[in-house]
Amino acid sequence: MASTNNRVAPAARVYAFGMCHSAEMIADLSRRAYEYRAQVLRMVYGRKSGHIGGAFSIAEILCCLYFHQMRVDPARAEWPDRDRLVFSKGHACAMLYTMLAHRGYFPVEELETFRALDSRLQGHPEPAKTPGIEAAAGPLGHGVAIGVGMALAARMEKSKRRTYVVLGDGELNSGVIWEGAMVAAKYGLDNLTVIVDYNGVQQSGTTQQIMPTEPIAAKWASFNWHVIEIHGHNVAEILTALDTAHEMHGRPVVIIARTTKGKGVSFMENSPAWHGGVPTGEQFQKALAELEEGARQWSA
């Protein structure tokens, strides 16, 4: 992980870990998820490159992790007992970078350099360049096994730190996911939580067309994981699921979060075309308007 230089004060409010999930907090995080989507939209539109669909589906989940659940400190990015996030579906990193910037790891303005030559914000996460990134991603499938290693290291050091892993649902096609799942269960890693962004779409089609994933809960259960199923755009459900995972004993937990790829923009939702598509000027304006409307619905 790169060191946190050019640090700016966090622009966005953090709800301390453990505090109760007030209606205000839930509304605030929900609203910000839409604002962060708009930010991602601008980045991809600006650079004419990037992955919108899977970034939009994971917005609320990352909001909950970075602004409440995870004990991290941008001022001490290398703090050994920080919680870890492995963002395994690395193509959606425009949303991850947006979270990191708003959490205070680097200036929000730097988001504009996404995917540009000489930028710290690479096309896929690169820990040596970007403060706050724990593991490289891009090639799919690594998250669970890397998370296992992090969780084992925490256990060896008797640290209470937790490891979170975010997967795509198409990513579950990849065998190394299931290798990692077996290892996690063998070692009973209850300090490891995996979240599947279950948006039903992979790159070139729906999971139903390309590689069916159902029965997804039964798969993880048969690999000896505790399974929680939630709506992945419902902040209250996300927060509760993360708490439940936190209290689990003796088993790793997977949260299957039902989401919508391209969430928040009518013409992007559930469409494989927006996995890696770049909007035209007109589409950009329309999408922005929809996202602003989405944010407004959560405003006080």
Partner: protein, 333 residues
């Protein structure tokens, strides 16, 4: 050589589109061809084959090891499977399958390696492929073929399918200048002399062929006559041509969209060492990962430019025993 190379290049063609079209044509010509993808057919344009021959198209999802193994099973049944995904995934994620069943067992599977070199430029170093030639070339029995423009793709793909054994066919994601004319008739395993010259030889593959021609034209303006040779088949290497050029020109430069370690430059270095040692300069990525950005910018920043070839040619020539003695810094590493 008018109709061998086009000067100036009349335009550019999206290589993956040329590939998709050639694949469909191949599908019409050969009923035994089966195409496989690992959920990136919209990227590499093998989706064009899917549209034309849905019953001969198989999508295994995001599972590259299975992609290759399923192809191996199809080959056992007499099919000619063409497996498609990003080059780096064949060269790394699925490499054991490639080694065990293609290289070792000889399964007649063709790997169409999309997005190779730096051509998946914005996705960055995890998706780029600067070691695939070195890796695939290290496997006995693999053929490794690198087309340089759209015409080359069209003319080489049927040969890839007809080749008796496994082939790694390395493709670029982007638009490339059309460089070859009507008379370009590549044959797997045979180098192609594109431009004559006696002062040095520039050996290039892929996107670097056009850039090498540009470099040679610039050198010609200074009175330096560099020969340009295309080696589209990295393995089996046309060692006869390499030795021939070493004898006749006394100094070699290789140019590839790949690390300087182990690829075309490595193959030529090995050949020269065992046959006819002359000064060799390798133009390529200097054993480092690169970054995200526009393709052209990356090529330039990482030394894959006509400037770099011109400089390398001068350096190689200066190192000929006959040349005036100058101190040349070692750049190997």
């Amino acid at each position: 050589m008018e109709r061998l190379i086009l000067n100036p290049s009349p335009g550019v063609t999206l290589m993956r589109k040329a590939y998709g079209e050639a694949l469909v044509e191949l599908g019409h010509a050969r009923e035994d061809v089966v195409v496989l993808s690992a959920d990136v057919q919209s990227s590499d344009f093998s989706c064009m084959f899917e549209a034309a021959f849905p019953e001969r198209f198989i999508n295994v999802g995001i599972a590259e090891p299975a992609l290759v193994d399923v192809a191996v099973g199809l080959a056992n049944g007499g099919k000619v499977p063409i497996a498609n995904t990003f080059g780096f995934l064949f060269a790394t994620r699925a490499l054991e399958m490639v080694r065990t069943h293609l290289a070792f067992s000889g399964a007649n599977v063709k790997l169409a390696a999309a997005y190779a070199g730096l051509s998946d430029s914005f996705d960055g170093p995890t998706h780029q492929t600067i070691a695939d030639l070195a890796i695939l070339r290290s496997l006995p029995n693999m053929a490794v073929v690198v087309p340089a423009d759209a015409r080359a793709v069209r003319r080489l793909l049927p040969q890839v399918a007809a080749w008796n054994g496994p082939v790694y066919f390395r493709l670029c994601r982007n638009e490339l200048p059309d460089i070859f004319g009507e008379d370009y008739q590549p044959e797997i395993g045979k180098a192609v002399m594109l431009m004559p010259g006696q002062d040095a030889t520039i050996i290039a593959c892929g996107v670097m062929v056009g850039i090498a021609l540009e470099a040679a034209r610039r050198l010609a303006q200074e009175g330096i006559h560099a020969r340009v040779v295309e080696i589209h088949t990295i393995k089996p290497l046309d060692t006869e041509m390499v030795v021939h050029c070493a004898r006749e020109t006394g100094a070699l430069v290789t140019a590839e969209e790949h690390s300087i370690v182990g690829g075309l430059g490595g193959a030529v270095a090995e050949c020269l060492g065992e046959s006819y040692p002359v000064p060799l300069e390798r133009v390529g990525v200097r054993d480092t990962f690169t970054e995200s950005g526009p393709y052209e910018d990356l090529l330039r920043k990482y030394g894959l430019s006509s400037d770099a070839i011109v400089d390398a040619t001068r350096r190689a020539m200066a190192r000929k025993p006959s040349a005036a003695p100058i101190e040349v810094q070692s750049m190997c590493g």
